[in-house]
């Protein structure tokens, strides 16, 4: 057996109940590494084009990586993928916590779920064995209740549980998968895929570690280096002290805190929802992920009338902005409660917040009225109305049933010009980063194979100063945040390959440079991979794997019919910010379109945004050439 991975994949067919173990060659791991790489590899090769995401033919993949399970901070993320019911694109989403190492230790690197069960089931994996168990009694349960019940009936309090809530069962298009109450593979509707398949949960437990690493001493040394050095970096200390909520204040001052459905970039009540405010009011503890010293995850206890259960965790920056500034809400208790509703019912907090803000704007503009909303009077800043609407969405009740389709479909159903206020790319709601103040983020939103996403490439401030870690990635010139010239495109592209690599390896982007909280450098990563596997690989080879995964995901979308017309931004980002520190700022459409074209050429993509045959051949993806261009190329 090779070091660091088991070479075994578990394939579960829910239609027949069959469970098979497949042995996979080391070569596949060399080329795809894990995570995003393996998800793209499996989905591209195994899904027929145009398959309905909510049909037995879609597949759901849980993937670890070649380094999952090493005792190194940041290496802990499980990558889950399927064709997205929200966007119709390739989709993968990552969650931190403890599930990924536990799965690897059971003896399987990857789990592939196929077909559809006739009745609710869950998958139980322990120490190299797997079985499907009945889950009728769990169907309809909130994530915490289902998780507790599963652990109790298995007599396994230490089992790690990935489960869906009622929203996934009701096929809410942005339903997510919740791990151990609080970590989420949040985006793209993977919970709905699981709900359609009638799979309530995947549960893992390892009583011994089934993999060996090549140089365990070196791995401990690398971990120790992190533990000894992270306090020297204020970005990491800030993340540890305030969590991701640290971002509220600086982004607000910068004019890039999405506010009132992206109309403006500063929120007058931002101080009330800041990291400092969270620490002073509702924070009770901080939690962490496997082997990580930073402990950035908040545990909160909100106050009357919004009492929350700390087990569900607390709101991250994205959630605070999505239900806070974006909806005009300044009550942290209400935001924490919204976070709990999302985690308990199993929906993505970003999409949910954007959908609610969209509905409020429609209401305030008179496009919809109380006749549409089942009597609900929607106003920015009205936390009670926000929570009532959220409850209707997660339960698909009344008007909530339309919003549960996501902003794109909801705007098409509503009509009356509602599309203009639906802030999404490829049907996926934009996250809480304002591209009018960070144009490289706008490029990444447009080009991301999964739709608008803030974790595709480092954000523009990362490139304003050339530091050692950027030089290691080949970025040698400083680039200003509003520049959109070839230097910016190059930086975003190289950054995209780097972050694609981190998704292949299941790594938290906050622990590695160039993130402000990042402690490790790119060269540390090479050391981790070599110490884990015994390979003698290089940063070049690893970045190529990141590039391979990105191109395969783009190729998947090209095969589905996505093209350059889909690589764009919502209209609003080409209009001026209405208020805030960057009032009047907009993205120039012509310049942006020109930048996208140049990006295509730099990446080796054609004018439709498809990877060219030459690029695919260069990456060893000859099977993708045949699929997209036929045998003639």
């Amino acid at each position: 057996m090779p070091y660091a991975f088991t070479g075994k994949w578990l394939r579960v067919d829910l239609s027949t109940g069959s469970i098979r173990v497949e042995e996979v060659a080391e070569e596949v791991y060399r080329e795809y590494l894990g995570g995003r790489g393996l998800v793209a590899y499996i989905l591209f090769r195994e899904l027929k084009p145009r398959v309905d995401p909510l049909s037995p033919n879609n597949k759901l993949v849980f993937a670890t990586s070649i380094i999952t399970g090493v005792p190194v901070p940041g290496v802990n993320r499980i990558v889950v993928g399927a064709k997205s019911p929200l966007t119709g694109t390739y989709c993968e989403s990552e969650a931190g916590g403890y599930f990924a190492p536990e799965l690897k230790y059971t003896g399987f690197d990857v789990v592939i779920i196929e077909g559809k069960s006739e009745k609710p089931v869950y998958l139980w994996i322990k120490d190299g064995r797997a079985e499907l168990r009945e889950a009728k009694h769990l169907w309809g349960k909130l994530t915490r209740d289902a998780t507790d019940e599963i652990r109790r009936e298995l007599g396994e309090p230490l089992a790690r549980v990935a489960c869906i809530g009622p929203a996934g069962e009701k096929l809410v298009k942005f339903a997510n998968i919740v791990f151990d109450y609080r970590y989420a593979a949040g985006r793209g509707g993977l919970g709905a895929v699981m709900g359609f398949k009638m799979l309530k949960a995947v549960v893992v437990r390892a009583t011994k570690r089934s993999v060996q690493f090549y140089d365990e001493k070196k791995l401990v040394e690398l971990a120790r280096w992190f533990y000894e050095n992270w306090r020297k970096q204020p970005g990491a200390v800030s993340r540890s002290t305030y969590g991701t909520a640290e971002l509220v204040t600086p982004l607000n001052k910068d004019g890039t805190l999405p506010t009132l459905n992206f109309r403006g970039g500063s929120f007058e009540l931002a101080d009330e929802i800041s990291g400092e405010a969270l620490n002073k009011t509702i924070l009770v503890n901080r939690s962490t992920c496997f082997a990580c010293a930073i402990r950035c995850k908040p545990d909160v206890k909100a106050k009357h009338p919004y009492e929350t259960d700390p087990a569900y965790g607390g709101p991250e920056y994205e959630t605070i902005a999505a239900f806070g500034s974006l909806c005009g809400v300044s009550d942290l208790n209400a935001i924490a409660y919204a976070n709990q509703i999302c985690n308990a019912h199993g929906v993505d907090t970003i999409s949910a917040g954007v959908v609610v803000a969209f509905a409020i704007e429609l209401f305030e503009r008179g496009i919809i009225s109380e006749r549409d909303t089942d009597g609900l009077n929607l106003r920015f800043g009205d936390s009670e109305a926000v929570l009532r609407l959220l409850n209707m969405i997660v339960k698909r009740e009344g008007f909530g049933d339309i919003l549960a389709e996501g902003v794109k479909r909801a705007s098409e159903i509503i009509g009356r010009g509602a599309e203009k206020y639906a802030i999404h790319v490829k049907g996926r709601e934009a996250p809480m980063h304002e591209p009018r103040g960070k144009v490289g983020v706008g490029l990444a939103y447009a080009l991301s194979p999964i739709g608008a996403d803030h974790l595709q490439s480092p954000h523009d401030p990362s490139f304003e100063r050339v530091a050692e870690h950027l030089v290691a990635l080949g970025i040698t010139r400083p680039v200003k945040r509003l520049d959109l010239d070839y230097n910016k495109i190059r930086a975003v592209y190289y950054g995209m390959l780097w972050w694609s690599l981190l998704d292949c390896l299941g790594i938290c982007k906050f622990t590695f440079a160039p993130h402000s909280a990042g402690v490790y450098t790119p060269n540390h990563l090479v050391e981790v991979v070599n110490a884990a596997t015994g390979w003698n690989t290089s940063l070049w080879t690893l970045l190529k794997a990141g590039e391979r995964a990105l191109n395969l995901a783009r190729a998947f979308n090209a095969r589905e019919g996505f093209s350059s017309k889909d690589d764009t931004l919502p209209e609003r980002f080409f209009e001026e910010l209405e208020f805030g520190a960057r009032r009047g700022q907009r993205i120039a459409r012509g310049e942006f379109t020109k930048a996208l074209r140049l990006f295509y050429e730099i990446a080796g993509w054609d004018s439709e945004g498809r990877p060219t045959p030459a690029k695919l051949y260069e990456l060893g993806l000859d099977y993708a050439v045949r699929e997209i261009y036929g045998d003639k190329s």
Partner: protein, 93 residues
């Protein structure tokens, strides 16, 4: 003498300085470097470690904004009534 307004944006830095804003009086030929030396002396070793690297250059952890413009030039001369913002180059999450 010149007076410079200094703003501390991240909560982490505010927690060390104890304030989000202060006015600092410097000599006529003051530079960004002399301002940062003054801040480091006033607010202690922790902040000093974060501002400067071992070569006494600006560390990669701190972003300086003078009158709305990002700068890395510590020898830049300061003028009366300049506003200097000390922040961390936050980049998403």
């Amino acid at each position: 003498m010149i007076r410079v307004k200094v703003k501390y944006i991240p909560e982490l830095i505010k927690s060390i300085t104890g304030t989000s804003e202060e006015e600092i009086t410097l000599g006529e030929d003051a530079t960004l470097r002399s301002l940062l030396e003054t801040i480091a002396r006033t607010h202690g070793e922790k902040l000093e470690e974060w501002i400067f690297n071992s070569k006494r250059e600006l560390s990669g952890n701190i972003l300086l904004v003078v009158n709305g413009e990002i700068t890395f030039n510590l020898e830049r001369k300061l003028q009366d009534e300049d506003t200097v913002v000390l922040t961390i180059p936050f980049n998403g999450g």
